[in-house]
Symmetry: C2
């Protein structure tokens, strides 16, 4: 298997990352493109094809060396059928059989799944959830996604739609959410909401990076913002902990970089709001694989589907 490779595509709201993995899922090469120029669906699909062809060629390989391609999609998908239902942050995608389209163009095996599910798969196999049997992995960003490992396997639910921790209501009433409901966790801790809260506190625009840095430096205003965010996250996580008796919760995504202040408040709230047995069991951990998790998860998906 020394001359066999896997290609993983991590499709984000603003960029596409393509990784060339060896059989052990060690990264051998990487290419990143912004998605700005791929507004049209057909152009974006051709962009993915070109990236993959480029990655193969630039590394002196041919298609015979590629076991398969795995894609992480930022939206709901039917992983078995390779179908993308829609992409909340990229227009023009509705019920696209992307695996089949790419397979025809590339003449390679192509598999896809939701990116938060792939992150969970990666953290369970190689990251912070490695020694866990029942874990929730949550990604914090513009949206709040999640993936569940239950009894040592990715739990999908009937429509592959399980894991939506971002859409747990944390109040009977509250802000309207993009999903159509209200008071969802995402409406309290999504990036936009954090920036809006920070603007109110600082009376000026402030970036997430600056807000995190200020908190690390002990700025009380910045700390107060992260404490509020941490409390909301803690309440939603305690719901999952009480319902599922989880071993661990793994927190990833940009906001997880806020560091000690955020994690301290999350932990405090989860332990205060969980039942005795459940609270004693659960560990709250930072994601171990950073922004590589999606690509690694896509690589695992390819190996799983090919049974290798």
């Amino acid at each position: 298997m020394n001359n066999k490779f896997i290609i993983a595509i991590d499709l984000g709201g603003t960029k596409i990352k393509a990784s060339l993995f060896n059989f052990r899922l060690q990264s051998k090469a990487e290419k990143i493109f912004t998605t700005n120029k791929f507004k049209d669906k057909r152009v974006l699909i051709q962009g993915i094809v070109d990236i993959i062809d480029g990655l193969i060629e630039e590394n002196g390989l041919s298609k015979k060396n590629i076991l398969g391609v795995g894609l992480g999609m930022p939206g709901p998908v039917d992983s078995e059928k390779g179908k993308v239902y829609f992409l909340p942050n990229i227009c023009g995608w509705k019920n696209v059989f992307l695996s089949r389209i790419l397979k025809n163009k590339l003449k390679l095996s192509v598999f896809l799944d939701n990116d938060a599910k792939l992150m969970a798969l990666a953290e369970y196999n190689f990251g912070s959830a490695k020694f866990s049997k029942n874990a929730l992995c949550i990604t914090l960003g513009t949206g709040v996604g999640g993936g569940l490992i239950l009894n040592g396997r990715l739990y999908r639910g009937q429509d592959n739609a399980a894991g939506e921790i971002g859409h747990l209501p944390i109040n009977l009433s509250g802000p309207i959410c993009a999903c159509g409901s209200k008071a969802c966790l995402e409406t309290y801790v999504g990036n936009k909401r954090i920036l809006a809260l920070a603007k109110t506190v600082f009376q000026r625009d402030i970036s997430l990076e600056e807000l995190s840095q200020k908190a690390r430096q002990g700025d009380h205003k910045a700390i107060s913002v992260w404490e509020k965010i941490g409390e909301c996250l803690g309440v939603a996580l305690s719901a999952a902990v009480n319902l599922l008796n989880l071993d661990c919760v793994v927190i990833g995504g940009g906001v997880a970089q806020a560091g000690v202040v955020l994690f301290k408040e999350i932990k405090k709230t989860v332990y205060a709001r969980s039942m005795l047995v459940q609270g004693k069991r659960v560990k709250i951990l930072k994601a171990g694989l950073g922004n590589r998790a999606g690509a690694i998860g896509a690589g695992i998906l390819v190996k799983e589907r090919l049974g290798i």
Copy 2:
């Protein structure tokens, strides 16, 4: 197997029900006792032994005819070890290895589990969740319990403590709960809370039965109470639905008797607060086995453990 039987014990807060099942889990005889006279732990254990001995004798059987005994306990247990951690509504129980104690006294195989988990097992095998792969069964009473069927199996979590839908927070802040947390579903929809709410609305004490009856007759005040309860239940259930992409939610326990008004409001809220795919999938159903679910579940447990 025609002369082989299973005994199921359903231990409630106020009574013990013992059922004699044939091999197909059809009820052949039943005995009910109140637990008032069993305040002391040792007396209660002896009471269980006496009920079982009585049931065997009165039906002209001997212990050779009994495959095993299953017990449903109203509290957290270690089902594998046959250990009761504690019983919230019955004093004096802490870390009791009840299966072993009863096995020594009865010279029969004895297995136990939490009653809400056994209800889920029964509804999945013979009741409303029969055609479901992923289901949450919730019991409404003084406490609010739950059991989860995921991928066609009872999901326990690492400590057999999964399913605690009654302790999902439905607000960031709210009434203090017996579990030590606050704003748990149980603090909004437990029987005591319903009675208190009804007393405020009617300006007098009113029983749950009367409240249900009045609602069925179209009394606006009674309907308003059940609508409030239904909304709180709906919000907590939508959290479970979004997180687990459930096929169905089965609702049992005394309060489920409130009927159409309650179910209408629960459904309305679940569909309004769930995500598109999840909301479309999930069915909200009344429990199919009524108060027989716990006993039937205990019978299933015995069969599962004995591998028959």
